[in-house]
Structures are given as C-alpha cells and as structure tokens.
Symmetry: C2
Subunit: 202 residues, 2 copies
Amino acid sequence: MKKIILIGASGKIGQAALSGLEHHEVVTASYSGRGCDYQVDIGSEASIKQLFESVGSFDAVANTVGLCEYADFVDMSENQWMTTILSKMMGQINLVRIGQKYINDGGSFSLITGILSSKAIPMAIADATTSGAIDTFVKCVAYELPRGIRINSINPTVIEEAWDVYGEMMSGFHPVPGLMVGKAFARSVDGFITGEVITVDA
Amino acid sequence: MKKIILIGASGKIGQAALSGLEHHEVVTASYSGRGCDYQVDIGSEASIKQLFESVGSFDAVANTVGLCEYADFVDMSENQWMTTILSKMMGQINLVRIGQKYINDGGSFSLITGILSSKAIPMAIADATTSGAIDTFVKCVAYELPRGIRINSINPTVIEEAWDVYGEMMSGFHPVPGLMVGKAFARSVDGFITGEVITVDA
C-alpha cells in the first residue's frame, strides 16, 4: 500500500488513472480543488511546493493534467505556445524537479503525454510537441533521479469515456477503455520500470 | 541555386552546415553578427521578424543555434530550464512560425537538435528534452506547412571539429567529420523529404 498523489483526479484521464490505483491510498488534487483533497496549479512552482509540503510523506505522484492550446500551426501565437509549454511541459518537469526533494525513497513519478505526438492530427501541434518533450525527458532523466526514484510517462490514445468530446477531431482513432490507462498507471507505480514511455493504444 | 539563410554561421556546426551548402547563395546570420551578413537573436520574435524583412526573398532557413544550459537535473533551476526552452525550442519554433510567412513557395526549414536526446549523458537533460521537442515538432508540423514548404531536423552527434571542447564529457561517443553534418543539411535543403529527423552518428 503506497500513498499516491493523483493530480487531475476529477478529469476523465484522472478517473481512468484512479481506476488502476484504488488498491493504494490515493490523495487527490486538481486545479479547482473541487471534490479533491488538495488544490494545485502545476503551472506554478509555489503551488507545487505548497502541495508537497501539505501532503507530507508520499510514495508516488501520478499526474494526469497539462493545459494545451489547440490551433492550426499557422494561426498559433507565441502566447498559445507558451501557455502549453508552461503547463504540460515545464509544469510536469517542475513536479519532478520539486517533487524529488519530497518523495520517499524508491518513489515514482508517472507523467502524462499523448498519442498525438506520434499520430499527428490538425490543431494539435503544441500538444504533440510538448508530449514529445516529456517522453524524451522521462527517458533521459531516469538515470539522474536519486534514492531509487523512478519515472515513466503514460502516452494514451483517446479513452472511450472522452470519445463524445474528441471523437469528431480524431477520425481513424479507436478509443480504449479508461481502465487500460488505469492499468498503465498501475504498471508505472507498482512495477520496477523506469525511463519508459508506456503507450496505450488500440 | 537557392538563397539560404544560415543562422549561427560562425559556430562549429554552422561551419559544418556551410560546407554542405556552398553550391547555393548563402546569407549568414548570428547572435553577435560578427563576420556575418546579419545579426539575429532567435530568442526574440522581433529580431527574427527583422531578419526576414531585411533579407527579403529566400528559399531556405538552416538553423544551427540554440542556447542550452547544462547542469545536473537535481540542481537545475526553473530559470535554466526556461533559458533553454526559450532559445533552442521556442526560438526554433518561432523561426518556422514567423518564417513561413516570408519564405518562398517550395522553401525549406532545417532545424538543429542533437544526439543527447537518444543517448543520455550527465548535465544534458535540458538539451535532450528540447531536442526531443523539436524532433517531434518537425515530424508533426510537416503536414501543416502551406505552399510546398518543407521542414526537417538535423540530429547530429559531436563533430570532430568540436571534440576538444566536448570530448571529455562525451566518453564513448565517436565524433563524425563536420562535412557529414553539412551533407545532412544539404539533403534537407536539396531533397524532397519533409517531416524527417536526419540523424548523423558514427
């Protein structure tokens, strides 16, 4: 039984992750904090630090959030790029950068990326680029983490529970049950693997 | 004969790129501007815009620069991350984002990444992560560029001409002659490929 901080617990991917982690003690957090144990904005160093100090001892961080702007590349502003970079990329890096000081020996970080980094679709260039950044980050930083701390990313396709929202823009993709994303988070948290990108696709 | 803007022309990778592009009309630019036709800071939108407006008509952009901070992950500050992200990642994205409005029909962008994204070494996590971002960006954005514009990234190992500087931190790597990097830039500029990561390794 591990103590896990699940960020984005109220979202659809958060609920999917939760389905695979319920055999642990899960502490929940989200941007709004509604229905969760804690409030956190991963775009803010101070907010991340505050979260870890409030929770105290923990064994794992499972992150399921990262704000992305969606637009055609030719129309996308530097501001839209930076919003995505500061949340989905720098925000997740900061979770690890700050969290590695607080997490228990042998703990783990599970970050979220997404299938659009390998299966490009219109409007998703910032999502894809920052996913590629985090997948590369995970593969390389695994060697540097101290005290047996592990790190992996979960790179899923769209889940059935979100198909009504994303289905139209994702023609030719086949959704997977959210529980498969839950299994991926469980494999990252409960296994010994590190530096891996766990792809979940149909 | 194409008109190519070579950014970072005075650096070692810039000289290597130049060796493969000399059959074209090459206009040179660098951060200091010393010995080059133009001065440009790829970390600044305004400076990039200024460059393209000054040059006028051109067929290709070959970029060989991107500022990276090197440190152990556990010691690296958010500022060090952001310096790297704003130059090597956002700077290169901005070259394409802004440049696609100015470049001739059928033009090309050749960006620079690096081998440390797939062969991790100490101190290089920000370099590796932003290289992974740009390699993914190139693969996905190729589908979106209008008017037959192409894009590739050159992902080289260390070159012989820079081995005296990097050799010590790159034990187990084998340097390649800079002319091989020049050939990679030539293949990107002169070929019909797009969305490719051109790896140059021993």
